[in-house]
């Protein structure tokens, strides 16, 4: 039987995170991160996960104020978490467009040392000029060049990690030999990076900290198949998941790699209850919290690409069609909800008509229904079935509450997965690569 890989996504800057609930705590205090990480470790999860965004999101030219706003620097918070956890992997999302290999390679190698081999990096490639306004280079990167830069970035970072061999660091006072004369030597003369010199962090415990990829395009999948250890996907339903899984694993094999060397991890949400019926009620309640009347209009605007602020959230969909434009997007700093707004609008109109739904109810219906809804037994069963049927190798769980959103899952679902023998009861490995059964792990 396949083991189920589990990661804990800190609920962050998106409309899945419910901040209006009385149980919702700070999105930025360190104690919130500690709480979620400790819950994940108690549940014997493989890793903790932080998303990223380097510009506050905007809608209609103003800072988007309806969702959680504000986040920490990923690697800095993960380094702090390394002090309060012992086994949990620590993965952060970092943009390959707005960083430089030497600096990022150092930071990841440092985190790997400071955590005893638990560091992971989710490589993302956003390149919009909007985000670029916060950086020296600005928004110079063409869409088509993002993955080319990302691929060379990953290659370069790995060259830097490899520039120190394990035996280069001796530190023997008796002989007076500290490190090899050529430790850290590197030279990379490529299209995006033309650098050489000496890398200054000794070889990391994992050698290569874990590399994750999140991105759905053809180029994104190819990039993952060639370079990544895990892929964070949006394909969290059984059928969709199987199709994606087959597609990606075939690409991995075509790249001359073993299919097991790339783990497929959809991001999923869940709602629990004592019974399946109660879970469904809880799920509905959370969905209404997630989609406030204001949020419903806003999500609609993202598809319509128009100012719809005058529409009644309880009223019917707009009769006017979406504005289709490649350049001008009403919302900035987030990934698009759809690639084909006209088709989406047509589908939504048909559904609204059929089920007699107003705007808010329609948005609740078509966006982000929880992936797993049920009693702990039902959810454990579904999670295991998805993994055994090759719709996934495991999941990145996205709770809806900070900081306690994972507690019930850990207390009630995890023991059932452990009973089935698909989730460890104790950590038998010490590094993140080790937890995932990947080469170079321990």
């Amino acid at each position: 039987m396949k083991q189920v890989i589990l990661a804990a996504h800190f609920p962050g800057v998106n409309n899945q995170t419910v901040w209006s609930d009385p149980a919702s705590g700070s999105q930025i205090d360190f104690s919130s991160f500690v709480h979620l990480a400790r819950a994940a470790e108690r549940g014997r999860f493989d890793f903790f996960f932080l998303a990223d965004g380097q510009r506050l999101r905007e809608q209609r030219g103003r800072i988007h104020d309806l969702d959680v706003v504000g986040r920490p620097d990923s690697l800095t918070v993960l380094a702090g978490l390394a002090a309060v956890t012992d086994h949990l992997g620590l993965a952060g999302t970092i943009n390959a467009t707005f960083n430089e290999p030497y600096e990022l390679a150092r930071k990841l190698a440092t985190l790997d040392h400071l955590s005893g081999g638990r560091a992971g990096w989710n490589v993302v490639t956003s390149s919009d000029a909007f985000t670029g306004e916060n950086f020296r280079r600005g928004g110079y990167l063409d869409y088509s060049e993002r993955y080319a830069r990302a691929a060379e970035f990953v290659r370069t970072v790995r060259e830097l990690w490899d520039s120190w061999k394990a035996e280069d660091l001796v530190a023997d006072p008796a002989t007076g030999f500290f490190a090899s004369a050529n430790a850290g030597e590197f030279a990379h003369h490529g299209t995006f990076f033309d650098i050489e010199g000496r890398f200054n962090v000794p070889r990391a415990p994992q050698g290569h900290p874990l590399t994750i990829q999140a991105g759905d395009s053809d180029e994104g999948r190819e990039f993952a198949a060639a370079h990544a250890d895990a892929i964070f996907s949006r394909h969290g339903t059984l059928e969709d998941g199987k199709v994606f899984y087959r597609d990606v694993k075939a690409r991995v094999v075509a790249n001359g790699r073993s299919p097991d060397s790339l783990k497929v991890l959809p991001g999923v949400t869940f709602a629990l209850g004592d019974t399946d019926a109660e879970a469904q009620e809880n799920a509905d309640h959370v969905r209404r919290q997630q989609v406030s009347p204001q949020t419903a209009i806003l999500l609609l605007e993202q598809v319509w690409n128009r100012d719809l602020s005058s529409y009644d959230p309880e009223g019917p969909l707009p009769e006017i069609d979406p504005l289709v434009s490649e350049e001008e997007s009403i919302s900035r700093g987030r990934t698009r909800l759809t690639r084909d707004p006209l088709e989406t609008a047509a589908r939504w109109r048909a559904l609204a008509e059929e089920k007699r739904l107003g705007i808010r109810d329609l948005i609740i219906e078509v966006t982000g229904r929880q992936s797993f809804i049920g009693s702990p037994g039902t959810v454990a069963e579904q999670i295991n079935a998805f993994v055994q049927e090759d719709a996934a190798d495991g999941f990145i769980l996205v709770p809806h509450l900070v900081p306690a959103g994972l507690d019930e899952f850990v207390d009630r679902v995890v023991p059932l997965l452990q009973e089935r023998g698909v989730l460890r009861t104790e950590y038998g490995t010490s590094t993140l690569r080790g937890h995932l059964g990947l080469e170079g792990g321990a």
Binding site: G70, H113, N134, A171, G197
Partner: protein, 395 residues
């Protein structure tokens, strides 16, 4: 906080500041790349109730040459990213300030602001920044983004003679300015969680920083809410006019390197005459501390011999007893210094001597506090938490 009290900080680097420190019998060179080693040092500094520790960093491998690798195998090589190291230690300490070194030359100002603000959250208001710039060709080659000319021979260089240093200090001043703006870009009460209107933040209290300078531009606001201290402590080491002028643009604590009281007096006077923000001025000293002066000098000589050269430093090298050091610190204080950054020659030996002998000695003389009197690093230094510069502004 009594005005009579000195501020004391310690500069942590590798196995200590002497290049052969790692070969001292008291050193633990095999542990340099473990978190436990650094946590132990910081716990010791906190036992001594020191104001803060700084952590050295560079974007190049250590070298005994002015620029470029030296091929030596007998000195410590390799180091951690200082911000991450500080953050790793933060949850294991409670009161002491944590001041990592971050360069302004090859980094993104936006990331610098975020990472230090985050350190301030992880440490509960104990973050600082030792601003550094990286003018070496070998460093520039690690990034491939800017041309840096070769420097002249080591002793002959005055920073002021090089156009590149005027450029880099100018840029560093701009980076400090933009980082400070980003720290202020969220007003303290920006998060409102107003269920009735569905709004999480009051966007009138989030501000674009709109910085445009010759080297970079940054739009803002920060992705990180205002850090607990409002403004984490900004510090810098300065040896001459150019860095003094840089410090006057926005540094809270300035480290200088006088070799005697007269030099200290002259430098403090020069800094005061430049005007600007009037940083607190600390002197840096490398210290070998033993029960007798002879023992300290012998230890220094032994390490010099191991290294094959007499250790030279930008700062004065002090070898003597903690009592003698206390004399010196109090004597130099008369020149207008408010504190010191001590660089232990060997870790943990000279750090332990600071916390276990020097500190009690200073207390006996009424020159150091008994315990921490504040919960934040700014608090230790008697600095108030500033309001955001944007408070009440509609931009």
């Amino acid at each position: 906080m009594s005005a009579a009290h000195l501020h004391l900080s310690v500069a942590l680097d590798g196995a200590g500041w002497h290049p052969a420190a790692w070969r001292d019998p008291a050193a633990s060179p095999k542990d340099l790349f473990t978190a436990a080693y650094w946590a132990g040092l910081v716990a010791e500094a906190e036992q001594g109730r020191l104001d803060f520790v700084t952590i050295e960093d560079t974007v190049a491998l250590q070298t005994s040459r002015l620029d470029g690798p030296d091929g030596r195998t007998d000195q410590v090589r390799g180091r951690f990213d200082a911000v991450l190291l500080a953050s790793r230690i933060a949850p294991l300490s409670r009161s002491i300030g944590l001041v990592p070194t971050v360069t302004t030359t090859h980094t993104e100002p936006f990331h610098v602001a975020s990472s230090l603000a985050t350190l301030d959250y992880v440490s509960g208001g104990r973050a600082g920044w030792r601003v550094q710039l990286s003018g070496r060709r070998s460093e520039a080659a690690h990034f491939g983004r800017r041309e840096v000319p070769e420097l002249g021979p080591a002793q002959a260089v005055a920073l002021e003679d090089y156009a590149i240093y005027h450029e880099l200090f100018g840029e560093a001043g701009d980076v400090v300015e933009v980082v400070r703006r980003l720290w202020d870009s969220w007003e303290d009460d920006a998060v409102i969680r107003d269920v009735a209107t569905g709004r999480f933040v009051d966007r009138e209290k989030l501000h674009y920083v709109d910085y445009e300078g010759p080297h970079f531009s940054v739009r803002g606001p920060s992705i990180v809410p205002r850090p607990p201290q409002g403004q984490p402590l900004v510090t810098a080491l300065a040896h001459s006019r150019l860095p003094y002028e840089f410090a006057a643009r926005g540094v809270d604590v300035e480290y200088i390197t006088p070799h005697d009281a007269d030099q200290a007096r002259a430098i403090v006077a020069e800094i005061r005459e430049i005007g600007g923000v009037q940083p607190k001025v600390f002197a840096d000293l490398v210290v070998f501390l033993d029960e007798t002066q002879q023992a300290a000098e012998e230890r220094r000589a032994r390490l010099d011999e191991l290294d094959g050269a007499a250790y030279a430093s930008d700062a004065k090298i002090f070898a003597g007893t903690p009592e003698q050091l206390a004399d010196l610190l109090l004597d130099w204080r008369e020149t207008g210094l408010e504190g010191y950054r001590l660089r232990p020659a060997v870790l943990p030996t000279d750090l332990n001597a600071i916390t276990r002998t020097l500190v009690p000695e200073l207390r006996r003389r009424g020159a150091f506090r008994d315990g921490y009197e504040a919960g934040t690093l700014r608090g230790h230094l008697g600095l108030a938490r500033p309001a955001s510069r944007y408070a009440g502004s509609t931009r």
